[in-house]
Assembly symmetry: C2
Homo-oligomer: 448 residues x 2
């Protein structure tokens, strides 16, 4: 017996779980998105097509209150990128500009290379050793299930450019922050500090980083030529797209399921975050077809521009205003297709028994119990910081970073059965959150 749910609601949670496990339409949703839209970088024509696709799809699937929230997004185009070794042994490298990088002059940049294996090693260099040179940060990302390998490495991409520029570097080349052994480079956003010169920044594929390292380690000076037509454009309009499964007795209270609609420009974003879009849409759709309304409203939010500055997340938090207080709990899918392997929460202590109960219903899906220190993910940060409890249904990230932020993020990487398991976990969790007797409390402060 449970203080939080009726037997009927627990039974329906199990029904949802078992139906989803038998098969869902999630794969079909991803296929539709990558076939009819494909790359959908913030502010691009593909982004506009994605917003139209999401409106049509949510409508067709029977969602209520289907609508957009206009979001102004920064606009950047990568143009072309060329990285070549000139000496000692000339070879072209497979490279991409980092997202937000400035380009080069028409003649490009030619300079010698200084190789380091970490940001700390870079910071330890003297300006004399770096000035006028191209910094090559050769730090390899570790493969992990929980994405901790990404967290441990991503600063070379986000902070590397300004740290190298501080020391007088003319450009930065990093080993891709990603685990692909193939000749495909991983992009991703950088963050220029206001007080450092903006230098062009590139990522080379792992095999190309290996090659560059072998040439550096051969002992002769290595010279590179870099060229990029990357550039900033005026901001453009995009939109968050929202659809709901209406609640009953407490319809004014919201359980939020998020994913992001945009992708990087280099690929069709099947896994990042087409998979997440499909998981949350399908989980909510299955609840809508149960024949019984959840007490609370389940709101699917497909955020604009997660990849290039989280514009949609900020705009959502701004536009909901006082409704923030009626967001009972929020969780998102933005770490690939799954399977879901763990449930973490960040809820008030008095709600922890309910989390344990949820985990019991999820157990047949092979979930582990986690901690009460969930992050909620990037798009939910403004909500969490405003006190909204969050959950992490952790998607297995072991292979995710092989294709994350690459051209290789295609439908060929999606496994329908894996998506179904993730849909099952999200549907159960959303249903239980929307039918729970009490709420999950509020979080106390930003630092909690």
């Amino acid at each position: 017996m449970s203080a939080d749910w009726s037997e009927g609601d627990l039974d329906l949670a199990a029904t949802l779980r078992d139906r989803a496990t038998e098969g869902t339409r999630a794969y079909e949703h991803v296929s539709s998105l990558v076939t009819e839209v494909g790359p959908r970088f913030a502010g691009s024509a593909g982004d506009t097509a994605a917003v139209r696709w999401a409106l049509n799809t949510l409508g067709t699937l029977g969602f209520s209150q289907v609508r957009t929230q206009d979001v102004l997004v920064p606009r950047w185009v990568r143009g072309t990128a060329e990285v070549s070794i000139l000496a000692p042994f000339p070879q072209p490298l497979v490279a991409v500009a980092l997202g937000g990088s400035v380009g080069t002059a028409e003649e490009g940049i030619e300079a010698s290379v200084v190789r380091v294996e970490s940001l700390d090693a870079l910071k330890a260099l003297s300006a004399d050793a770096v000035k006028g040179r191209i910094v090559f940060i050769d730090q390899r990302m570790e493969r992990t299930r929980d994405a901790s390998g990404y967290g441990a490495t991503v600063a070379i991409r986000s902070q590397g450019p300004s740290i190298a520029a501080d020391l007088g570097a003319v450009a930065l080349v990093i080993r891709s922050v990603g685990t692909s052994p193939d000749r495909i480079a991983h992009t991703g956003g950088l963050t220029y500090r206001a007080d450092a010169p903006r230098i062009p920044a590139f990522a080379v594929s792992n095999p190309d980083a290996d090659l560059l390292a072998r040439q550096v380690n051969a002992g002769k000076p290595v010279r590179l030529h870099l060229h990029s037509t990357a550039r900033e454009l005026p901001p453009a309009w995009s939109a968050n797209v929202i659809g709901e499964i209406p609640g009953g007795e407490r319809a004014d209270e919201v359980v939020l399921l998020g994913a992001h609609l945009d992708s990087w420009d280099v690929g069709p974003g099947a896994v990042d975050d087409g998979a997440g879009v499909a998981i949350v849409m399908e989980a909510a759709r299955l609840i809508g077809r149960l024949g019984r309304k959840p007490a609370r409203t389940i709101r699917v939010v497909l955020f604009a521009n997660e990849e290039f500055g989280l514009s949609g997340a900020r705009e959502y938090a701004r536009q909901i205003g006082e409704e923030m207080n009626r967001h009972v709990v929020a969780f998102e899918a933005d770490l690939g297709q799954g399977p879901v392997w763990r449930l973490d929460s960040r809820v008030a202590p008095e709600a922890l028994p309910a989390i344990s109960q949820m985990l019991k219903v999820l157990q047949p899906l092979n979930l582990e119990s986690g901690m009460n220190t969930a992050s909620g993910g990037a798009d939910l940060r403004p909500l969490r910081e405003a006190g909204v409890p969050v959950l992490d249904l952790s998607l297995d990230a072991t292979n995710y970073f092989d294709i994350h932020h690459t051209a290789n993020d295609t439908l060929a990487k999606i496994d329908a059965r894996t998506l179904d398991q993730s849909v099952a976990a999200f549907a159960v969790t959303a249903w239980l959150a929307a039918t729970k007797q009490g709420d999950f409390g509020r979080l106390q402060s930003k630092t909690e």
Copy 2:
């Protein structure tokens, strides 16, 4: 006991096998080639660097009679290639020009698509169905250990352009003849017939072919835009590079070990055919260090321009003249890194007991026995047609066509232990061929 070999020679064969299995320098040779040379397409600067590398390396490794044979090679540059879907759902595709393709006008080509699943299906279309359109041949290559999947599909690439042009097509797009599930397209040579218009021809990656097929199958007309700056240049000079392990009593007789020094332009050619170069160089080097001369001379020939017309193979056959009759047997390594899993022969019937004896010595390496219908491989065809017996030490091709003719053919795909097994098989076979009492007879005719 054996009629063909002394006990001592058989013992030395086993010694060679066991030493190579314990570890060789083959990986080091591939690493050196892809680090210091990289892409080496016929007639390019990389090709010139490769010839220099091969001369230096054979010399350093202690080969005798290290020399080049000048070879005139056709010259083609791919420039840029762009293939985009314009309608119904615009998306860029990952594509490469087929080797030897003509380019497009500056404005490119825009036309609707007609999709077929085989050359036979294409031939069955009326000219009305094809005229003015872009033909898309969507035939998937099957993964096999013996490369038969490649043989069954490669004609869409080699013959497809002229067959499509016969029917009035303005261009050809094929699904890559390769098994990579990644977003990397496979190039490879086409053959224009003299009596058909030369139309531009491209290959798209497997995931991009999937996407194009999904859009076609959605039922609305599909339009593509194609652009290519591929073009022919005047012929250039390249070279076969040759080195020998000198024979003793019958030094004027030759056992030939071949591989090709050139690669496609799109990648560093670690597996195709850096692996083959390393296997034959290392196998011969190990024989040279046995402390006992083989009766016959073992000649390593690194052929120029296998990929774009077999110029080196033809030139070798022409230059050896009468020495052709003293080529006792020939075999090559040009199907990846291995392991070697089978021995086929094409020898006179009276030499078949010797082949069985060779297989016994090879048995610990897990080789199967084959047929007496070996092809000898592309570079050895002129020798075979002139009557020289050939062997096929079949390299396991299961994963080879994931990277064959792609940018992804890097050192990351090479496994040192697998190379060592292949070296062992080649060294044993070369030693036994060079010490056999009698020869392998002669082949009777081209059609045998």
